[in-house]
């Protein structure tokens, strides 16, 4: 304000509408929720039936780790997750690309995928037993089936969204059909496919529990189911926390892949 008599400053009216993350707030929220639960369960204000003591959950976790059972449960679950999701995602991406490229395949398969999408996978458990047995097969199949539909939808959406001028450019330089698909359509669809995978993999984790309903002795899902049937809340929560961490981990991995593969995005 060099000389106020000259006039008044222009009022500021911008800013806002651009939330910036403050990391520590997230951590704080988690910590205070846990402390609140601990306090509530300790004082009895929250009954033992409603929530387990967070410290007990931690202890259960510790025991699980010490006894080596953690890895005994984690290993089969991870292998189911990886194999199932790999099958479902790869078939889903292939089918999605075919739908994105060919009129007849699109017309034939899109309604089918739309019809399959809202089918709950647990409803099909009895059938999966017959179709794929109660071994690893049915678990892979269930997870694959669950990841398949969202992957297909995301993939053909991504192919549809590939910039058409890029494709016309390829044609105008006389590139072969296969070159255009390989060098333009696929890389162009990659961002959409990866963000679809984020959802598909979250669904795969969710389906782990359903998959391990079928004759799984070990596995995080089986562990959770057993805890549920025994109404053992500490173990139930320990299992849920593992799945939740797994989800956060998978999402972080995809974020990493995105940063590596999609560095070209603005």
């Amino acid at each position: 304000m060099s000389d106020v008599s000259l006039g008044k400053s222009v009022a500021f009216r911008g800013g806002g509408f651009a939330p910036k993350p403050h990391r520590w707030v997230g951590v704080l929220v988690f910590i205070s929720l846990i402390l609140f639960a601990e306090w509530g369960t300790r004082t009895g204000w929250i009954s033992a039936l409603t929530l387990p003591k967070p410290s007990d959950v931690l202890q259960t976790f510790q025991e699980l780790y010490d006894s080596g059972l953690l890895f005994k449960h984690l290993a089969p679950s991870l292998s189911r997750l990886i194999v199932g999701a790999a099958i479902g995602a790869s078939i889903g991406i292939s089918v999605g690309i075919l739908i994105g490229l060919f009129s007849y395949i699109r017309s034939g398969l899109v309604p089918l995928v739309a019809a399959i999408f809202p089918i709950p996978k647990i409803a099909l458990l009895p059938l999966f037993v017959i179709w794929f047995g109660i071994g690893e097969g049915s678990k892979y199949a269930l997870i694959a089936f669950g990841t398949f539909t969202p992957t297909v939808v995301a993939t053909y959406g991504a192919v549809d969204n590939v910039d058409r001028t890029l494709i016309r450019m390829g044609q105008s330089f006389g590139l072969s059909w296969w070159s255009i698909v390989r060098k333009i359509v696929l890389p162009g669809a990659m961002p959409g496919i990866l963000s679809g995978l984020r959802i598909s993999l979250a669904i795969a984790i969710i389906l782990l529990v359903a998959a391990e309903m079928l004759g799984a002795e070990y596995g995080i899902g089986a562990y959770i189911l057993e805890a549920g049937s025994l109404y053992d809340l500490e173990r139930l929560f320990a299992g849920v926390v593992i799945l939740s961490l797994l989800g956060v981990l998978v999402s972080a991995v995809i974020g990493l892949v995105e940063r590596r593969l999609l560095g070209w995005r603005t």
């Binding site: 033992a48 039936l49 458990l125 009895p126 059938l127 037993v129 017959i130 047995g133 109660i134 071994g135 309903m213 079928l214 004759g215 799984a216 002795e217 089986a222 189911l225 057993e226 549920g228 049937s229 025994l230 109404y231 053992d232």
Partner: protein, 310 residues
């Protein structure tokens, strides 16, 4: 009496007939209770519903979940219902056709085989485990969650053995898909399969209401036993009554054999075989499914009914 409104949890199985009869024949009303049934698809949520106070009384098998909830001070077993009794067709051990053809003719032959259970800590798990113990064999237990899934797995030969109530066992065996290879009662005589239970609060504070319920329930059980087991009353009328609740989607003539096949002993006066309960508790504890320091007193309130087998 007081005309109390109460909710009774039930599954659409013949083993819950005591409740159905007591309701239909007005025994609950006589005891001053205005009963409403709450039907469940599975036993486990029913136990949780008692704990949450959504349901007042129910009948179900002793399971790990039930014991856990009792340990949390939520529920109490107050009486007995279904029992294995010599001379009455009880639960069966089954072998899948594939296993049978491969030589599994008796429960002992299940050594090294896969035994189906719904979940770890279920009554199937207990029966199989006790049998294996008695025979000195090792089996692996395959949890399949749902009875339907187990039937599918048995039919397709993916599991080898299972144990189940007779009215499911017999038609399955009749179709040739599975074979009956033994009786549960041979290994677990006087097995207290299901029990009557309520919330710990009711057991402690609502003595009058709880006694009224057991009184009505016992009269229902008596009628059921008279008609279906002791043949001192009209079986057809009883089947008609039960058909109102069980197999309702099938015509009566198709439902009747299943209902009759499902007949098992319901303990008179809801007497409770404490020895069997203790054995079950011990087994759950030895398997590490429930806390090792849970006592029978925590699980059972023995003040309501006759205690047998002590």
């Amino acid at each position: 009496a007081m005309n109390n409104k109460i909710k009774v949890g039930a599954l659409r199985f013949t083993s819950h007939a005591g409740n159905f009869v007591a309701f239909e024949r007005g025994y609950f009303a006589d005891a001053g209770l205005d009963v409403e049934f709450e039907f469940f698809q599975a036993a486990q949520p029913m136990a949780v519903a008692i704990a949450s106070g959504d349901v007042d009384y129910a009948v179900t098998a002793v399971s790990g979940g039930l014991i856990s909830l009792a340990d949390k001070g939520a529920i109490k077993v107050i009486g007995g219902a279904l029992s294995e009794e010599e001379g009455i067709d009880g639960q069966k051990f089954l072998a899948s056709d594939a296993a049978f053809q491969a030589g599994v003719k008796t429960p002992k032959d299940l050594d090294g085989k896969k035994f189906a259970v719904t979940q770890a800590g279920s009554s199937f798990h207990y029966m199989g485990s006790k049998m294996a113990q008695a025979e000195g064999i090792e089996m692996s237990f395959t949890p399949l969650q749902k009875v339907g899934a187990i039937i599918g797995a048995m039919k397709s030969g993916q599991v080898d053995g299972w144990s189940i109530v007779p009215h499911i066992a017999k038609p399955l065996a009749g179709s040739g898909a599975v074979h009956i290879i033994g009786n549960v009662s041979d290994y677990l005589p006087d097995y207290q399969v299901t029990t009557v239970f309520t919330s710990a609060k009711h057991a402690a504070d609502e003595r009058g209401m709880t006694e009224s319920f057991l009184e009505g329930f016992s009269r229902g059980v008596d009628d059921y036993a008279a008609a279906m087991i002791d043949n001192t009353a009209d079986q057809d009328a009883m089947v008609d009554l039960i058909h109102k609740y069980v197999y309702t989607d099938r015509p009566r003539d198709k439902a009747a054999p299943s209902i009759i096949n499902g007949t098992m002993r319901l303990n008179k006066g809801a007497a409770l075989n404490i020895a069997s309960i203790q054995d079950q508790l011990n087994w759950f504890q030895s398997e590490g499914l429930v806390d090792a320091d849970i006592t029978i007193e925590k699980l059972v309130d023995t003040s309501y009914v006759d205690i047998i087998g002590a």
